[in-house]
């Protein structure tokens, strides 16, 4: 899916709000392909909304360019960008019915009323609200309101659709159901979608790519599994999923070994680090398993300090003789072996060890 020209390009975009010393967004660059689902994921205050608002045209970047199909759109006001938008609090017009809300963008575009009728009905049907067309927002549940907002953002076939935590106000079951619906609509209609969330599982299940934000910067932008398996920074590794970060230095680079407090750790073939470089060896808890006896490498002995039982599986924390804490998963059947205070041997595969740079 390579294109000569990226569809939507953020080029070193920065934002400083008036009168503030620090940057809310700092040098964000990203290329977004047509039809792609990109999530902006990050903790509160990391600049996700600000970035989205600059793409939407509601905030002006202090620096940098935003390009759509090769031309700069920074000077184009929001209402001329033809971008659809879904807000966390739905932002439906309270004085209009569901039908009128969805019809509004089409009426503004002066489409003939027969066509408006047909399109609004089709889109309300698509979000499962055909029966509620004549209700006002106040007469709809939160989930129904958000579906109307969805239909309103899609009905005029926008170039790009932007969503800012659209499911943040819904309960867990409804959220998961809507995640699936949004993803299916996006695929079916081939929508380019930029989706802000701070829920990592939401980003993992829905996105083609995730941009992980921290302190106003993108730390990494990649496919969900890539982010999960090969995070480029400690922040990404710890923010997305659980992880064990073991400090060390690259020993023998050709043998791919890291010297750490718990001994030498071998790592997978895909990392390029020179000898002596300070690194983290990252191992996901579910990739560490209980072992009968201590392996010569890629394993250690732990004293169990805490177990959390989830029924089907157990999350176990233990410390090595040197005091390094490791977390791993065991099956429900193995729970007895991992009781607090017991000594256990654990092992992992060298391919499951990911190495990432560590600042001094």
């Amino acid at each position: 899916m390579t294109q000569a020209q990226p569809f939507l390009r953020l080029d070193a975009v920065s934002k400083r709000y008036g009168g503030r010393a620090e940057l809310a967004v700092e040098g964000v660059s990203a290329d977004i392909r047509e039809g792609e689902f990109v999530s902006l994921l990050g903790p509160s205050g990391s600049g996700k909304t600000t970035t989205l608002m600059m793409i939407a045209g509601f905030e002006l970047p202090s620096e940098g360019r935003i390009m759509l199909s090769g031309s700069d759109i920074v000077g184009i006001p929001a209402h001329r960008r033809n971008f659809g938008m879904v807000f966390q609090n739905y932002a439906l017009f309270p004085h209009m019915t569901a039908f009128e809300n969805v019809a509004y963008p089409l009426r503004l575009r002066k489409q003939p009323s027969s066509r408006i009728d047909e399109k609004v009905k089709r889109y309300l049907d698509m979000v499962g609200l055909a029966r509620f067309a004549s209700r006002r927002p106040a007469e709809l549940s939160g989930g129904q309101q958000q579906r109307v907002a969805l239909a309103r953002a899609l009905v005029f076939e926008p170039t790009v659709v932007l969503m800012d935590e659209p499911l943040g106000a819904l309960d867990k079951n409804l959220r998961e159901q809507m995640q699936i619906e949004i993803k299916e609509l996006q695929k079916k209609l081939g929508i380019t979608l930029i989706y802000v969330t701070h829920d990592q599982s939401e980003a993992m299940t829905m996105s083609d790519r995730i941009a992980v934000f921290n302190n106003g910067r993108i730390e990494q932008i990649a496919a969900p599994l890539e982010i999960y398996r090969r995070p480029e920074t400690r922040f990404v590794g710890e923010f997305v999923g659980e992880s064990n970060m073991i400090e060390g230095r690259v020993g023998d680079a050709t043998e791919r070994r890291v010297e750490t407090e718990i001994g030498e750790i071998e790592y997978g073939p895909d990392s390029a680090f020179g000898a002596g470089m300070p690194v983290f060896a990252m191992i996901r808890p579910e990739l560490i398993t209980l072992a009968e006896k201590l392996p010569p490498r890629n394993g250690t002995q732990l004293t169990v300090t805490r177990t959390i039982h989830f029924g089907d599986r157990v999350s176990v924390e233990g410390t090595t003789v040197g005091g390094t804490m490791l977390r791993f998963r065991a099956s429900g059947r193995e729970a007895a072996v991992c009781a607090t205070g017991r000594q256990v041997n654990v092992a992992w595969r060298s391919d499951d060890v990911h190495i990432l740079a560590r600042g001094q």
Binding site: G18, A56, G57, F58, P77, A78, H79, R80, N82, F83, G84, M85, F87, N89, A91, L92, F93, P94, H95, M96, T97, E100, A103, Y104, P105, R107, L108, R109, S113, R152, A153, F156, L162
Partner: protein, 272 residues
């Protein structure tokens, strides 16, 4: 048991006596308005509607009444035209000197009426605006601006501004967003603000006494003169009518609140 009875009776008694205390003088006026004779007296000897006929047929009363409506309407319109954009600017933007401008807008609220009346008297004398409706309209608008600005600011504070962004994302520029989203949603509170401006002017006497003169005499001024010079029972008629209008407006507003908003903005949009 007794104490519970007492605790439910006392507030009722208080409410009734306060209501009675406030309403009783008003009721006296209503009764007097139907009294016979050429001067005010209580209790009336006989009941007629003569004074009502006098009020509705004499130019001496009808002209000031009309003047008051024109002046109040014009000054309410000017007040809304000034305060609405100002309130929007204050709600939406930060600009240098914002506090100073706010202070200037609120200024008329801090100056005693009589001081303002004197100031207008001399100032308008030089501008040749004394004894003209335009003069009274300007003075009354200045008086209403701070109050209505406060009301409009409060209205905008409770407005959900993400609706504006939602409308822009739908493709509406500033004008159409104002026309189809802000205006229909804010119309009821704008009307209340306008009503306040109207009443502020309609009710104002001190400044009107100083600057309205014979030519632009307002209803309160005419009433004041009437009481002072002739103790004419028509004053009671005017008071009764005003009281009736205010009560009717209050009832209509309460009733409309109950019925809820039924207008729809997209229907306006469709018509175009």
């Amino acid at each position: 048991m007794t104490s519970r009875l007492q605790s439910s009776l006392i507030p009722k008694f208080l409410a009734l006596s306060i209501g009675g205390f406030l309403l009783l003088p008003m009721l006296l006026v209503v009764v007097m308005s139907f009294g016979e004779g050429t001067s005010l007296r209580f209790p009336p000897r006989a009941f007629t509607i003569d004074s009502y006929i006098v009020y509705f047929t004499s130019a001496g009363w009808m002209v000031p009444t009309l003047n008051s409506f024109i002046i109040a309407g014009a000054s309410a319109a000017i007040t809304l035209l000034v305060t609405t954009p100002a309130a929007f600017a204050f709600a939406l933007f930060d600009f240098p000197g914002k506090r100073l401008v706010r202070l200037l807008i609120m200024m008329p609220l801090m100056v005693p009426f009589i001081v303002m009346a004197l100031a207008y008297f001399f100032f308008f004398g030089q501008l040749r605006l004394l004894n003209t409706m335009v003069g009274v309209v300007i003075a009354h608008a200045c008086l209403a601006v701070p109050i209505v600005f406060l009301i409009q600011s409060a209205n905008l504070k409770s407005f959900d501004w993400t609706l504006v962004r939602a409308s822009q994302a739908c493709g509406a520029g500033h004008f159409r967003t104002f026309r189809y989203i802000c205006l229909p949603l804010l119309r009821p509170s704008f009307l209340v603000a306008g009503l306040f401006a109207f009443i502020t002017s309609f009710d104002e006497t001190v400044i009107a006494l100083f600057i309205s003169g014979r030519a632009a005499s307002t209803l309160p001024r005419r009433m004041f003169e009437s009481v002072r010079q002739e103790s004419d029972p028509v004053v009671a008629v005017v008071s009764t009518l005003l009281f009736a209008v205010v009560a009717a407006v209050a009832i209509v507003i309460a009733w409309r609140r109950e019925a809820g908003r039924s207008r729809s903005a997209t229907r306006d949009l469709e018509r175009e």
